[in-house]
Amino acid sequence: MRNFFKAFLIIVFVTLLLMFFLDRGYTYIFENGEPRSKIQNMLQLKNKHYDVAFFGSSRTENHIDCKLITELTGKSCVNFGISGGSPGDMLILMKLAKNRKVSFNQVFMQVDYNFNSAGITEYFKANLVPFIGDPAVKEQLQKYTEDYIYGNIPFYRYMEFDKIVGLRELSASFLKRKPNFNLEAGYSPKQGIGNVISGSFPKKINFRSQELDQMQELYKNSNTRIEFFTAPFCKAIKNRDFMDKVQLKLPGLNNYIDIFDDKDEYFFNCGHLNGTGAEIFTKTLIEDLLK
């Protein structure tokens, strides 16, 4: 039995040792390598001021051209929209921004069917786990997950989220490979005109969105003004009255859902404008809200 246990324990020890060193190595590279996501980008920002910041999902990332805003208004602008991002993700980004002294005059948060979404997404969580050593990140993550194992078992976090922060992403960060769009401007337009343009809103609306309430609370009594907006949807979308219900919950909502009802050529699909549509929508926002 002695040699057996020796062989077994050596394998266990080697595995744990490798996990420890891999964890240190991965964390160092993610902290010091090229930021590859908006979350990582935010965590590398410090003491910065933007006039305007946009938060939301792909419907912000694909629709708001910050470069155009700066050109036409002279205001500095950043687009933090993340494809698939939930209001919970955006709330954490806002809190991290505050913690890192990244300030804004105006914050625009995109609201639509995501009013019903609660919690944070796996993608967002995966992007945060390398930075769990940062007390601000740890505090936010612990609110949304009971899985404290990430911080306690070395390398477990990188195995659990191997698809997003695995060896592939690590190599890209280490080799300083930039993502395929400018992270700071944050705008990534869709190309082409969609053929099948249809979709559906939920039939029922939640009583409230804790995340949106907390966003309002976060910027209350501060120099930052938060506004909510809804980007256009195609006219064929079902249960459109869902947005009337959202409007009742958020009376100040800037609702642009129907501005392109006669412009199918502006849509990539029902929930996303193409580059042309995005440019015109950005100009509309400038005209209405940023002048």
């Binding site: 040699n3 057996f4 195995m159 191997d162």
Partner: protein
Amino acid sequence: MLFNSISFLIFLPVVFILYWGLFKKSLKLQNIFLLIASYLFYGWWDYRFLALIAASTLVDFFIGRFLQKTGNDFHRKMLLSLSLLFNLGLLGFFKYYNFFIESWMDSWANLGVELQVSSLNIILPVGISFYTFQTLSYTIDVYRRKIEPTSDIINFSVFVAFFPQLVAGPIERAKHLLPQFSKKRIFIEERAISGIHLILWGLFKKIVIADSCAIYVNAIFDNYENMNSASLLLGAFYFAFQIYGDFSGYSDIAIGTGRLFGFDLMRNFNFPYFSRNIAEFWRRWHISLSTWFRDYLYIPLGGSRGSKWQQVRNVFIIFLVSGFWHGANWTFVIWGGLHALFFLPLLLGHQNRKHLNQVAENKILPSFRELLQMLFTFGLTSFAWIFFRADSLVDAVNFIKRIFTNLRFELQYLSIERYNVEMLLIIGIFVLLEWFHRHLEHPFSGTFKWVKIIAIILMFLTLGVYSDQQEFIYFQF
């Protein structure tokens, strides 16, 4: 319980320590404990289906006892028929009922008659094809008077439900495994250490090779209409490694786990992709199933004796049944049929018993001829795997048609955030490791044993797929 799960990571050491610690002194207690552990292992998936295993165990145990007591040929035949009827009936109902109903309705629909027969919402019990074949082999061997029936119901129950090989084999023979439950087990250090090495190697095959390939395979097979010829060929190539890594990985873990408890389970894979023809491939792939069919179906049918027509008929029967054993879908039947077609020229040309040794024995590299033979055999098996993997016959045919009609060979981006070149590199390393250790069970031997172990653990940690973990493919059979 999956071998690649946290629950098994806890289960295995606990069972191991209790087995060799608390129950070491009593063989009876060790066997009872193994039975409880095996039922727990199976019940972790769905405890309700434990009743099926228990029923199958009881039926074959008592039929075995009655077979011993009666010398009357008619009674013996009736008892054997009862066992066949019960075990194949279970398999038929849980695995094939809906298939037969749907095929029956489809064939009438082709004649313009719409039948209204509803199918049932049946859950396929994990491992049913494996343990029913294992118990059947016991009854058939007792009937043939090749083995003595056991009088110990605990030993027989644990033989049927032994957790390392319960859900996906190797399908053991009573002659080989059953006596091991009656002998006092001695902890042999070398065997147990080789067991750990096999488990490590099996996990590597499953988590690094099979699960990584699965991501590419799913992306290609699920969107084959949008794929060019290069991607489709790669899809078949990746699936060949997915299924090999998955199933041989499972077998390695099963055999390794068996060794930790002092058991010797039969080898199930012997480097099948280094085969020089299809006959050799079938001597090296899923050995426990192919020998089962050989002993209980092929030879009783006459085997390679009799007229050429009978030999051809027997080959087709065994391959078609083997295909059908894998699943209730025509794709598996065609897969079996293709292998029969590939095998036929070898049988007719008396080449099927060629290449009984290991390829390039005592040589580092194969000859050019051997290399071509291996590539050709691998090409044939990969082609047949398309039918095995496709959801339907129509998909399989369209997949193949597209390979030959969409003649574009640039590497496509697969929308899975991964690139073909990295997967090909991992497979390349895997093939080289297998090639240079093809005379061994696993690569962890020689001067650089620990270097190889550390390298495998490193690959395991950094290249393994954990967020997209797949069940073992053969669980569905």
